[in-house]
């Protein structure tokens, strides 16, 4: 009886292996996309939204004939991996994505620390990565397969701080708060440089650990500086909301900036009335009149599915998927290296309209997606767009094609 059971188990195993092998063969016609993002914690809304928008992009591509290269048409599939917004979990996500699942096109990587952990492997195995880490060092000739799919401090801070200076000419002093990790450390350097260039005095640049739950000591430290401007640079929305709430309780009043603010929803939910008038450097009103019809549709569907409006980082997953589709078709190959060479040469249809890659002057390589820079402010609990700037480089590229 025992022998019979053993042979039955072996037969079942063999059947399972052959089924898996046939599935793998079926996967030859599928290009696997991946996302690495925080799906829990204070930055979870970014990961959950990016995953949802990425799935919409994949659905759209599959419904519109897939991707054609080398005389073959491919369907697309997307898997999202939790990176915990830290390098340890980012490293685990990278192993699972690149070595276990053999993903070779990453349409969104969120968080500098996990993106750097992923990059150390993705460049080696030849996977193309779209990401929105804010560090300058992730791009350049040393990392030819890494592209950025949303604006970063190097694109955003100048226009944002210029606008704040115009609207609050009496403000002279700034206090900054950043998470004490790779994102915060890279953001802080650029923020300090840009503020100083505009004549501001930095009275405090404070740090905190991600995962902090009690923000009163930080708020006390910030409030005691009596700074005119409080910029919670790299703090994700839930953390920024908690700090603004405590600052309001402790009586601080001034100009509030959330340079990395990607939307009012989580900020308002946590910070309540204290976040009114916060300037955000990385947010957009995709339900408003300046959004494209596609963005309005995604925003409306996202509201129903997620209970939150779609933000810039979520939308970047759509734009990345479309850029990669265009890149594969232009290269006529699914080799990530060939696609990476094709990307800087093409103009593709993003959710904002025609977009391209540039930024060689800043990064040494044209690896930055050129999309509009949008400055917003929270008014009555809603994100309101107050300025939209089309990058000069994009204008020039589009003019050349006309």
């Amino acid at each position: 009886m025992r022998t019979l059971l053993t042979w039955a188990a072996v037969a079942a195993l063999a059947l399972g292996v052959s089924t898996a092998a046939s599935t793998a063969r079926a996967d030859d016609d599928v290009i696997r996309f991946g996302i690495t993002a925080p799906m829990s914690g204070a930055a979870a809304s970014w990961g959950i939204g990016a995953d949802w928008v990425g799935q919409q992009a994949v659905k759209w591509i599959n419904e519109h004939g897939g991707i054609t290269a080398g005389g073959k048409t491919y369907k697309v599939a997307l898997t999202t991996y939790e990176n915990g917004y830290n390098s340890a979990d980012g490293g685990k996500a990278a192993q699972a994505m690149l070595n276990r699942d053999h993903v070779r096109f990453i349409i969104q990587g969120i968080g500098t620390a996990p993106v750097k952990a992923l990059q150390s492997l993705s460049e080696r195995v030849g996977a193309l990565m779209m990401q929105d880490a804010w560090g300058k060092s992730v791009k350049g000739p040393q990392a030819p397969l890494t592209f950025t799919c949303a604006n970063t401090p190097f694109e955003l801070f100048g226009p944002l701080f210029d606008l704040v200076k115009r609207q609050h000419p009496d403000a002279k002093t700034v206090a900054l708060l950043n998470p004490n990790d790779a994102t915060g450390q890279e953001v802080e350097v650029e923020a300090v440089k840009q503020y100083k260039a505009r004549g501001y005095t930095i009275v405090l640049s404070a740090w905190y650990e991600r995962g902090t739950t009690e923000f009163q000591p930080i708020a006390t430290k910030l409030a005691q500086t009596h700074a005119d401007v409080m910029d919670l640079s790299g703090a994700p929305p839930a953390d920024a909301g908690s700090v603004y709430k405590e600052l309001a309780v402790q009586g601080w009043k001034g100009v509030k900036i959330s340079s990395s603010g990607t939307g009012s929803d989580a900020l308002v939910k946590v910070g309540g009335a204290s976040v009114e008038d916060v300037y955000m450097g990385n947010a957009a009103d995709f339900g408003g009149p300046t959004a494209t019809p596609l963005q309005r549709q995604l925003n409306a569907d996202g509201l129903k599915a997620l209970g939150e409006p779609v933000n810039i980082l979520d939308m970047a997953a759509w734009d990345s998927a479309m850029a990669i589709k265009a890149g594969i078709e232009k290269a006529n190959s699914i080799d990530p290296k060939a696609v990476a060479k094709a990307l800087p040469t093409l103009i593709f249809e993003s959710s904002y309209g025609p977009a391209a890659f540039g930024g060689e002057a800043t990064y040494g390589n044209p690896q930055q997606m050129l999309v509009p820079i949008i400055v917003t402010q929270i008014k009555n609990g809603q994100t309101v767009e107050i300025e939209r700037i089309i990058p000069d480089e994009l204008k020039q590229r589009l003019a050349k094609t006309q």
Binding site: P38, S40, A44, W207, E209, T212, T213, Q216, V270
Partner: protein, 294 residues
């Protein structure tokens, strides 16, 4: 004066919750001699359930916010109680006084429960509606009114627990078991039953602190982890198994976080806490008020 008052207020409000959370952990260790890494999951579950239930009740029954909170709080306590009882009978009962076994079991439960919470509640931060509006000021320092009330409730729970452990029959049994299990059993104290009660009270304290924190902080499935780390620091400094030690340690850690966090940096405050733990483990492993053997 304003700054000093604010630092004191910060210490009080942070310490009140740390103490309540740590009391449960130290009680469980004292009675059962186990390290429960899943302790924070009771805290998290209570907060998550309140955050999930309150909006549903508001829509369904149109209750005022405070009543909504109260009903959700009670339901969350019942749910956590049931979970704690199940975990005790299927797991912890088999590993009483087994540090390694309970360590592995509770670490597994921590990962399992965090995954389940993530699946059930998603990782997106949830927020509970404000129960009491306004803020109070004292000598130039300020805090939200609801924080003040919740600090008061935390302290009231702490005092009640202390009195219970000092004077009630079960409290005396818990202390007796914590100090000398064999001697307690020779006196007729039923060890397994006392352990179960101790575990339930400890888990209940974690749930109460989670429920009290729910209106004050964004709630995610990872919420309990930060408090668990602090609680371990507190009970090592205060003395493993010591209730007065947990109270003293809780306020000491809150003071370090508040004062060192202000004058230096919050990262330095965290380093200072761990440095203190190392010093205690080397110089006085029984903690400030503990009775553990070297």
């Amino acid at each position: 004066m304003g700054l000093f008052a604010q630092l004191c207020i910060n210490t009080l409000q942070i310490g009140a919750v740390y103490v309540l959370f740590s009391l449960g952990l130290t009680l469980v260790f004292g009675v059962m001699k186990i390290i429960n890494f899943a302790h924070g999951q009771f805290f998290t579950l209570a907060a998550l359930l309140i955050a999930a239930a309150m909006p549903a009740f508001t829509v369904q029954f149109g209750l005022p916010v405070w009543l909504d909170y109260l009903v959700s709080f009670v339901l969350a306590m019942i749910a956590v109680g049931l979970l704690a009882a199940v975990l005790y009978f299927i797991g912890f009962e088999r590993y009483l006084r087994d540090l390694i076994g309970s360590f592995i079991l509770s670490l597994g439960l921590l990962l399992l429960l965090e995954g389940v919470y993530l699946w059930l509640f998603t990782g997106s931060p949830r927020v509970v509606a404000k129960i009491l509006p306004g803020q109070v000021s004292f000598a130039g320092g300020a805090m939200e009114t609801q924080r003040l009330v919740i600090c008061g409730l935390s302290l009231a729970f702490t005092v009640a627990l202390y009195q219970f452990v000092q004077h009630s029959r079960l409290g005396k049994a818990l202390r007796a078991v914590a100090e000398d299990r064999e001697a307690a059993m020779l006196q007729g104290i039923r060890y397994r039953r006392t352990s179960f009660y101790g575990f339930m009270i400890g888990s209940g304290l974690a749930a109460v602190s989670g429920g009290l924190m729910a209106p004050l902080t964004p709630i995610t499935p990872a919420l309990g982890s930060d408090y668990l780390t602090k609680a371990f620091i507190i009970i090592i400094i205060g003395g493993l198994g010591s209730i007065p030690g947990a109270i003293l340690g809780g306020f000491l850690i809150a003071a370090i976080e508040s004062v060192a966090g202000y004058f230096f940096d919050l990262s330095y405050a965290t380093i200072a806490m761990f440095a203190l733990v190392i010093v205690f483990l080397l110089v006085r492993p029984e903690g400030m008020l503990g009775y553990a053997q070297r």
